[in-house]
């Protein structure tokens, strides 16, 4: 009798325990179901609008029905992710080492773009209001402005760090506010000096064309593939720098324990300065690419700050791998939600970026690859 009661009690507590586990894992299950549903939808279920539309049709059909458009969307996602990565890797490098959230990163991006733009116009000549055609631009007339912009922005970032941030190290919020102030001033000054209209940098004629990819008959823009290649190069260079050189070793050690590294006799201030230079230079270089890929104008700075933030929040701040994964996720979600949402709901694609962010934060507050400071 008492045994039976005890058994029942046991069973009851087991049920309660499993229910608690279910509650705890519930969100993960929901997330998994959502991801699985999204995959099935994109790969098999999505239909385009044929003769009778119900509003539930998507812009492109599913991967099975329409491999051509699916492949293009996939390439769009991956190449956009490349540019996100170039910009966000600079952000994450600075943050990882110095715990500085550089809210002026977007402004640096835009300023880098403008520097490259002005230099290119200067090199090519014929400064017309309509911009340049890619056929007028040879490869060095794109590359030299982009590199000069990167160096200029690197120096600007270094200057900002030395003048405003070096003496209040560790006051993270104050540093973030200082960079916000600089971003406000820069944004307003850029409108005053470069105008409030949108302009773009011309790609060199050499790569501004479409190439045939021998897959599903896709012809794809070579410039976008070049962005992806650049991103892979930047990523590889950063990885080699951080993993295989002495400076990289110091930086990685600094990410884990700044005090200990400087106690060991390493000039950590020099390392900080270097990291700030490289991180800002990546924003400037990204600005040159972004100005060719999209355009430059007021508000672009805020957008790219946002992209960088989303990427590093998802990936985990201070992690290079995290920046790569975060960029890829952001690129995939924004490209696919723009064309695979039912036609009446396309406007809500931004919500998916939010959902992605929320999903990651709910399970890993420090991001996918983040580690506590």
């Amino acid at each position: 009798m008492s045994n039976a009661a005890a058994d029942a009690e046991h069973a009851g507590s087991r049920v309660a325990a499993s229910r608690r586990a279910l509650v705890r894992r519930g969100p993960a299950g929901v997330a998994l179901i959502a991801v699985a549903f999204a995959l099935v939808w994109v790969l098999f279920a999505a239909r385009t609008c044929g003769t009778s539309c119900t509003g539930l049709e998507t812009t492109f059909g599913s991967a099975v029905h329409d491999p051509h458009d699916f492949l293009i969307t996939l390439l769009n996602a991956v190449t956009a992710a490349g540019l996100y990565f170039v910009v966000a890797s600079g952000f994450t490098l600075i943050f990882g080492l110095m715990r500085v959230v550089n809210m002026a990163h977007g402004a640096f991006f835009l300023l880098g773009g403008y520097i490259a733009l002005k230099l290119q116009r200067h090199f090519v000549g014929g400064d017309s209001a309509f911009g340049l055609l890619s056929s007028q631009v040879s490869w060095w007339q794109w590359l030299v402005p982009a590199l000069v912009a990167a160096v200029c922005i690197g120096i600007a970032g270094l200057g900002m760090q030395q003048v405003f941030l070096r003496w209040n190290q560790g006051q993270e919020l104050r540093q973030a506010l200082i960079t916000i102030a600089i971003a406000i001033i820069l944004a307003d000054q850029m409108i005053a000096h470069f105008g409030a209209f949108t302009q773009d940098i011309a790609w060199p004629g050499l790569i501004d064309k479409r190439v045939r990819i021998h897959l599903a008959g896709v012809e794809y823009s070579l410039t976008r593939l070049a962005i992806l290649a650049t991103a892979i190069l930047v990523g590889a260079a950063l990885w080699l720098w951080l993993k295989k050189t002495r400076t990289g070793m110091v930086i990685r050690a600094g990410v884990d324990d700044r005090q200990m590294v400087s106690a060991l006799g390493v000039n950590i201030q020099l390392t900080f300065a270097l990291a700030f230079f490289v991180g800002s230079a990546l924003a400037g270089f990204g600005g040159a690419i972004g100005g060719s890929f999209a355009s430059l104008g007021p508000g672009v700075d805020a957008n790219w700050l946002l992209y960088s933030l989303v990427v590093v929040i998802i990936g985990g701040m201070g992690s290079l791998v995290g920046a790569a994964v975060g960029s890829l996720l952001l690129g995939l979600v924004s490209a696919f939600s723009a064309v695979y949402l039912p036609a009446n709901y396309t406007y809500y694609s931004i919500i998916f970026t939010f959902a992605l962010l929320a999903l990651v934060l709910a399970f890993r507050p420090l991001g996918l690859f983040g580690r506590p400071a």
């Binding site: 102030a181 000054q189 931004i350 970026t353």
Partner: protein, 360 residues
């Protein structure tokens, strides 16, 4: 901290506060005078009150919860959009539900507070700069959402939102909304001051100082942060309701990233660690915005934003506590009475200046 009797400071601040309240309450009676024009009252002071209310919600979070949020302007705007959708019934964007103004208030506050709870829950496990970044993304997403969603707002926003009849047209009865905003501001101030002394408020301050310890003492840290964020959202929503009544129109540009930064600027100028700073910062911001806005700055070029950015930068560099911090530091330097008895400061430095003047 300031090195002199806080009793005197408290007395002085209370006197100034009471004087300010009397002055503000009497201002419309004195108008129109050259300094107290109707424009000053209906535009500058009314705007100061509702922006100050939104700023107070941010300062509450930052001063007592250690959370600097950039999403307060979104909550503010969401209240405005919800109210706009509920009360309009004409040729404007949105749902045009045509409900009574009372329901408009209820819907605006409820929707905004609910969204604030959601945002708070998502961000509740972060603090410090992480919190700042996450709330910034919330702010941008809210802005883009209302820009994209044609059924609720769309790019052009909702116009022709009327204040309830007991407030009437702002152009016809400028003082009604002025007094409404004034009363709400005072109530918000009192309620926040009360709340931070309740067990909830004290726990929140404990979490601000040491989340790990509070968590090991058995307090639910994310829950408290979420509750605080929801409460702050309600405050911001009050500001948003007053804003749409005052403005009659709301569009996504009113809650864009620039607006979010503007609100942060208000709080930093006023002082992120003192609640009074909310209205002080709002007043400074609105005055600069109204009198500098259209002019191009000499030499460097640029507009109002370059100037406000430079002021913002200077304040963070020189006095992270903002104007209220400067005020505190000033009192610390001037007040002679309690210095000798103060245990916190260095005696030599403290005695120095005032007695010098007295002995001569």
């Amino acid at each position: 901290m300031t090195g002199f009797g806080s009793g005197f400071q408290q007395w002085l601040e209370r006197s100034i506060g009471v004087a300010a309240i009397f002055f503000v309450a009497a201002a419309p009676l004195l108008a129109p005078t050259p300094i107290m024009s109707n424009y000053f009252i209906s535009t500058i002071l009314t705007q100061t009150f509702f922006l100050g209310i939104a700023a107070a919600s941010l300062i509450f979070l930052s001063a007592y919860g250690g959370m600097v949020s950039l999403a307060q302007i979104s909550i503010f705007g969401i209240a405005g959009f919800a109210l706009g959708n509920a009360v309009t019934n004409g040729n404007t964007k949105g749902l045009n539900l045509g409900w009574s103004p009372w329901w408009g208030i209820v819907v605006g506050l409820a929707v905004a507070t609910a969204v604030a709870f959601l945002f708070g829950a998502l961000a509740s496990r972060s603090a410090g700069i992480y919190f700042l970044m996450i709330t910034l993304t919330f702010a941008v997403i809210a802005n883009v959402f209302f820009g994209a969603d044609l059924s609720l707002s769309g790019f052009g926003g909702i116009s022709g939102i009327q204040a309830p009849s007991w407030i009437g047209e702002v152009s016809a009865h400028p003082y009604r909304l002025y007094y409404a905003a004034f009363v709400v501001a005072v109530v918000v101030y009192v309620v926040i001051r009360y709340l931070v002394r309740t067990p909830f408020g004290l726990t929140l301050q404990g979490i601000r100082d040491d989340p790990l310890r509070m968590s090991s003492l058995g307090y639910n840290v994310p829950l408290h942060r979420t509750m605080a964020f929801g409460f702050a959202g309600f405050i911001a929503a009050l500001g948003g309701v007053l804003f749409v009544w005052w403005n009659g129109h709301i569009d996504p540009a009113s809650i864009n990233i620039g607006a979010a930064i503007d609100l942060l600027v208000i709080c930093v100028i006023g002082g992120l660690y003192r609640l009074e700073g909310a209205w002080l910062g709002a007043l400074a911001f609105v005055v600069i915005q109204n009198y500098v806005r259209t002019d191009y700055l000499p030499v460097v070029g640029g507009t109002f934003h370059s100037l406000i950015g430079a002021i913002f930068l200077l304040i963070i560099l020189l006095s992270p506590g903002g104007l209220m911090g400067i005020w505190g530091a000033m009192l610390g330097r001037v007040a002679p009475a309690d210095r000798a008895t103060s245990a916190t400061g260095i005696p030599g430095e403290q005695g120095g200046q005032p007695t010098e003047g007295a002995s001569r």
